[in-house]
């Protein structure tokens, strides 16, 4: 289990000028077991924050610690032992000649024994419906299979913290549901945590227990998802917008006091007939 502390972080892409801050004075902690929904309009700084957590960017001010390690001093390799990220359009990152090699790569880097790698790769491939393609080229897979492989190659590393950027953009109904079941499966293990940046609030409500809202580089709200749904100002000010589904959930839980998890479950049952 890993704890991520974001301490008073500001970031500017123009390091020399130190103005034009994309993020400004952001402080937030991600604890083991947290599943955090990172929300905010286009261009608010969500992806930048994720890259900072991964150590791909260094804060201009402030620091980010993963447990006790400062990310601006640790190597990306060190950070990736605990935290793994699934990027937007992850299927663009394949490089291996076979699905098996693609899945084995990260494990080899960690120095696992060959039999151990083989066992893990086959287990994960089965879970993701990729077993029969193990000796095929990743580039010969269909769009949906490619996306499954890209996620499988991260999940196989068994990170303590999983970070995902816009996982549902451009996904159809079935793959969106597949993404939900994969993420839920990951969170079943105790003390794993998740940070997901998304515009798809309906998707987010099905997997998250906490939310953080960024607007114009500032953290303007944080708390649990149920409180977010009771929060009127964030929505009335136009920082976030409700979908029909989220506004319905919001009204049912705040005006009628029905349990949030129960509402989500019933809504899922309504669409289940289509699966």
């Amino acid at each position: 289990m890993a704890k991520i502390s974001i301490e008073d972080v500001s970031f500017s892409y123009e390091q020399d000028k130190k103005n034009n801050f994309v993020l400004k004075d952001v402080s937030y902690s991600i604890l083991p077991g947290d599943s955090v929904l990172l929300l905010g309009p286009n261009g608010s700084g969500k992806t930048t924050l994720l890259k900072l957590i991964m150590g791909l960017l260094k804060p201009t001010k402030g620091k980010i610690r993963i447990d006790d390690a400062d990310t601006s001093k640790a190597s990306v390799f060190e950070i990736s032992k605990k935290v793994s990220m699934i990027f937007q359009n992850p299927e663009k990152q394949f490089f291996a000649e076979t699905v098996r090699e693609e899945l084995s790569f990260g494990l080899k880097n960690r120095g696992l024994r060959e039999e151990e790698i083989k066992k893990k790769v086959e287990e994960v491939a089965k879970k993701f419906g990729l077993f029969e393609y193990l000796d095929k080229s990743p580039f010969d897979l269909s769009g949906g299979e490619k996306r499954r492989l890209s996620i499988a190659s991260i999940i196989i590393l068994d990170p303590e913290v999983l970070i995902v950027d816009e996982p549902t953009a451009g996904l159809d109904f079935q793959y969106r549901n597949l993404m939900i079941s994969i993420i839920r499966g990951f969170l079943e293990t105790r003390n794993k945590s998740l940070v997901v940046a998304t515009h798809d609030i309906d998707f987010g409500l099905r997997i998250a227990n906490k939310a953080a809202v960024i607007n114009e580089g500032k953290l303007v709200w944080s708390g649990d998802v149920v409180s977010l749904l009771r929060e009127e100002e964030i929505f009335s000010k136009g920082i976030l917008a409700h979908t029909f589904t989220s506004s319905l959930i919001s009204r049912v839980i705040s005006q009628s006091n029905v349990d949030f998890q129960k509402v989500v479950k019933i809504l899922e049952e309504l669409t289940e007939g289509l699966m």
């Binding site: 261009g43 949906g144 109904f173 793959y175 669409t271």
Partner: protein, 289 residues
Amino acid sequence: MSTEESRKTIIRIRNLSFKYKNAEKNVLDTINFDVKEGEFVLITGPSGSGKSTLARILTGLIPNSYPGDLSGEISIMSFDPRRNKIYEIAQNVGLVLQNPENQLFALTVEDDIAFGPENLGLERKEIKERVEWSLSVVDLQKERHKAPFELSGGLQQKVAIAAVLAMKPKILILDEPTSYLDTLSAIKFAYFLNELKRELNLTIILIEQKIDLFFKFLSRIVVMNEGKILIDDEPDVVMNFCIRNKIPINIPLQLLIIRTLGETYDGKKLYDYQVDDYKMLFEKIINDR
């Protein structure tokens, strides 16, 4: 005769099949598809069902930029992409892509919009008029000197549309234009698109997964699967068909709630209800369990 029926058919497709070069099987398989002037048609379906391929044919990118085996009858305002060049079709059919960043390249909004008309070899005065007109249609006059990349996703998508409108097309085709937009921008975009259609008397073909955002504006919905058209009809008819046959697409939740409660609430259009009405209906579903 109703106005719907008296409208002119501007796209007519018969027995259309297409196979990309070196591919094993057809991406489109004997498609029949008509669009009448002024319609707002939404095309949906799982990934890989052939939606984007159809858009590429309607804009002439297939076979001009993507080679392959194309067969069947095609008439897009009497153009046929096998006989006509992309630029001829582009003056009648505009294409807006999923990610505006893939479509924008100039240093200022103005230059991006002027690029198409410049390439048509129009006179300076005409180019200037078209740029002004496009900027005003999408309400981006204030941003004209800004770099497209500085703008938010929603505004970038508007620049992409303005650049397409400057070609004065009759038909606008959009391929999942809201994928990268936040919810508020996506909602605004749906209204904007409907206004645009009315003001300019455009015909719109929209490829989209988020059916509920556009539902109330649509003339028809087309559902594709594995290169075929499963159903092509009025929105209500299509939704009922998809629920009955368990077609995995994003059915608007409003409709699922009403259907779950049975016949009682039929006869009223889906969007005549407010969220609070649905809340009452939904609570009835909760209590029934």
